[in-house]
Amino acid sequence: MIKIRDLEKIYRTEEVETVALNKISIDVKEGEFVAIMGPSGCGKSTLLNILGLLDDPDNGSFLFNNIEVAHFNERKRAELRKHNIGFVFQSFNLIDELTVFENVELPLIYTGVKSGERKKRVEEVLDKMQIMHRRNHYPQQLSGGQQQRVAVARAVVNNPKLILADEPTGNLDSSNGNEVMSLLTDLNEQGTTIIMVTHSEHDARYSHRIIRMLDGQTVLENIMV
């Protein structure tokens, strides 16, 4: 599903040049659950952003479903993104002014799904995430675990092929964290590819494969058994 070769990303300011990704090459197959680990500043979030088509690389090749997307413009990236990729963030990133239902509905609106269909799909996914009873609440009225479940619901409502999770349990206690991890595992078992950046060895153990990064490069790959 994903094939990147010699990918480079360099951040430049007037005085300093920081190499975030240094000719990195990775493959991710469809249906895989991959964890990316590494110390702060090793480039894992940059990698995730490029994989999520939120950012573009400076050099190298990025094949997404066999399409070269490395130099797609913003509009094309957005198009590809909204149909194929779901995101889960450490800080949930829900819109405070929208209810649970409306937050989850958002990606469907941007993909142009009709109102009746939207309602059905949002309710389905809320039900699956067991937060249906909170559908009319605002994010601030929910616990952290509930908020993250809403965020996961929002990520999967469009049935994306790929979910990118950036430290999804970082802001949660262990029981809520475990709950979110099992949600992701379930999704993976149903066929969704998952790439997760994490600091937690415990969470990483849910994945099939751990890619360890340092200074913008992969240093080690562990296959989980």
Partner: protein, 799 residues
Amino acid sequence: MHMLRNYLKIAFRNLWRHRVFSFINIMGLTVGMTACLLIFLYVRFEWSYDRFHTKADRIYRIVADIKTPTETIPADRPAWAVPSHVQLDFSEVEAFTRVLPDNVLFRKGDVKFTELKTLWVDSTFFNIFSLKLLKGDPHTALREPFSVVLSESAAKKYFGKEDPMGQTILATGEAIPAIVTGVMQDMPQNTQVNGDILLSMSSITLKWAKGIDDQWSNYSPYAYILLKPGADPKAMEKRFPAFLEKWAGKEMRQSQMFVTLKLEQLKEVYLHSSRGQLAEGSQLGNIRNVYIFSIIAAFILIIACINFVNLTTARATERAREVGIRKVAGAVKTQLARQFIGESVVICFIAFLLTLGLSALLLPSFNHLAGKTISEGIFTNSSLLLLLLGAGMVIGLLAGIYPAFVLAAFKPIEVLKGRFATGSKGSVLRKGLVISQFAISTALIIGTIIVYTQMSYMRNRSLGFNKDQVLVVDTDGDKKTSALQETIAHLPGVKASSSSGSVPGSEHQGAYSELENVKGDLQVTNLDLYFVDFDYIPLYNIQMAAGRPFDPKFKTDSSQAMILNEAAVRMLGYHSPDQAVGKRFKQWGHEGKIIGVIKDFHYKSLQQPIKPLSMRMEWPRFKLISVKISPDNLKRTISAIEKEFKTAIPNRPFSYYFLDEYFNRQYQNEERFGKLFLNFAILAIFISCLGLLGLASYSTMQRTREIGIRKVMGASVSNIINLLSKEFLKLVAISFFIAAPLAWYFMHKWLNDFAYRTSISWWIFAAAGILALLIAVFTISFQAFKAAMSNPVKALRTE
């Protein structure tokens, strides 16, 4: 559609969540739009003068420049003979009417009024002006001598519910019976040719002053001509010199008064003509004021829009996360831009609704302030409402575009990671906007102070005569004027009295005169002329510069004596007033000697320089009695005067005024201008402060952590207030240096219209600068103080 609903939802919830800022934003826009709307109505009204006449494009006023050996007089009317002869010689002219404004006494039974808005007009009046005749034939109504056309309200006043057509009403002091031949709709306010009662001009030309139609040196009525379609007024003007030479060449050479005729388009007269106008006093329009208020309106709107842009972009940091999430959820830049523009349009729409309410509320007071009914109501005109709605939406679009694109351009990963910082570019822009807001406000403060300084200068400048405690009784030239004055003089409470033709500030004659100049020649000139009696100069305490005042001891004083003012003496070339005494004069059939020179006094408003003035005695011309009264028992004195008046002149209504009020009425326009200026300056400052308040609180919010750290490090409350205020006060200071020269330039130009004016001194700028600074300090300090007093631990926890 669902996207739109989503946007609206977010918009309203956002507004509600940030109530204070929404309030500031909407309030600023509302106040700005209201001010603009009111000014728009005012400007539209001023522009509308005389444009409603269907033939307005073809109606011209004939005016004359009269060149005497000493000056050129820009007259607002030509000689009596001009319009009829112009029609005779110029095939381009379809019709003409003369319009002679007058105050005429009318009586019907017990109902009697001196009608201040009476017009003597030719029978073609209704053919030229689009004024609707409700009863009577517009072509014949004013043909016969002593025909009268009443306005609807005048008809009601004199005849009640009766049909006035064909009835008789007594006109003038001589009680001449006039037949009502028509009833017209009340004239609209936006016309200079404004009368309540029309009398046929033939009463004068065929009855009272036969032959006046052929007079080439008597200037009384205004003259309007209707040109045929396609006629070229410029070409006509070129042929006027030959026309005048043909008819009046000899007379002009004899009198040494050379006339140039010009045409002024009716539509342009009210706002653009520098000459006199039929609509007098406070009715006079002024294109300069229209421009000034249009500029102020634009400024206020700009300030309000600046606030909007400023507050919205300042809040960008807060909205950034939402933008990031939406982008991650699949939104593209244009969708987001549309959302934010939509939000600003929503805000503008709310402001628009509030503007309608506020304007409707303020309109009556604004009408009062403007001194005329500029609009009957906001909701009466649906096209105006649509225009406003459109304007509101455009403002929403314009004000929303910049913030929308700033917001929509955020990079999602950066903002979601909290790596977002307000760009220095944005803050430079915001600073620039604050500077321009305060520059406009400061300029308006300076302008207001200068307008008021000039007003107070005009009120307090020594006029060269004493206008206090002088009551003026109007006898309308009744024969018993002097006899009545004799009686009044002996009433208790009356210190002195005098009969005259004019008082300072009132109308006066202009007379063709010949005076002996320094070379010993009789110099032809047009002199302002006051008819006064023996008591006039002492009553008004006008000072003598040379010679003596009129004196009953000298028999010749009543017919062969003239007094000049210093300006007249200078015009004749004398170096001192003494030289003029004893010199010869000829004026309106009288000859004699100059017996004295009075010091210059302001007999007109301070807008105008003191002109050469002559004074003579001629009893039949007296129509005003000036009464110097003691301030005690004022009421008793006035009612005693009224009693005597009613006994002496029973068929005229008793009317009087206090001279100081009457004289100051000339400044009504300036006073209104000053008040409007002040009000709009306050509005502009208010909106600017709202903006500053909003920005200051945002800036404070953004620096919460910094403030916390500084406090932990030992900063005092005053340190913090200082830190936060300094940034904004610097901007206010910069804006002062932009405002000062601009304000100086424009106000200097404004003052140039006054012949006597105050100087623009440094303290005005200092005061305005300090005031702007104080207002800004007051606005900011509230926020700064709140921030400085907050618990630093709480501030650091927001990390």
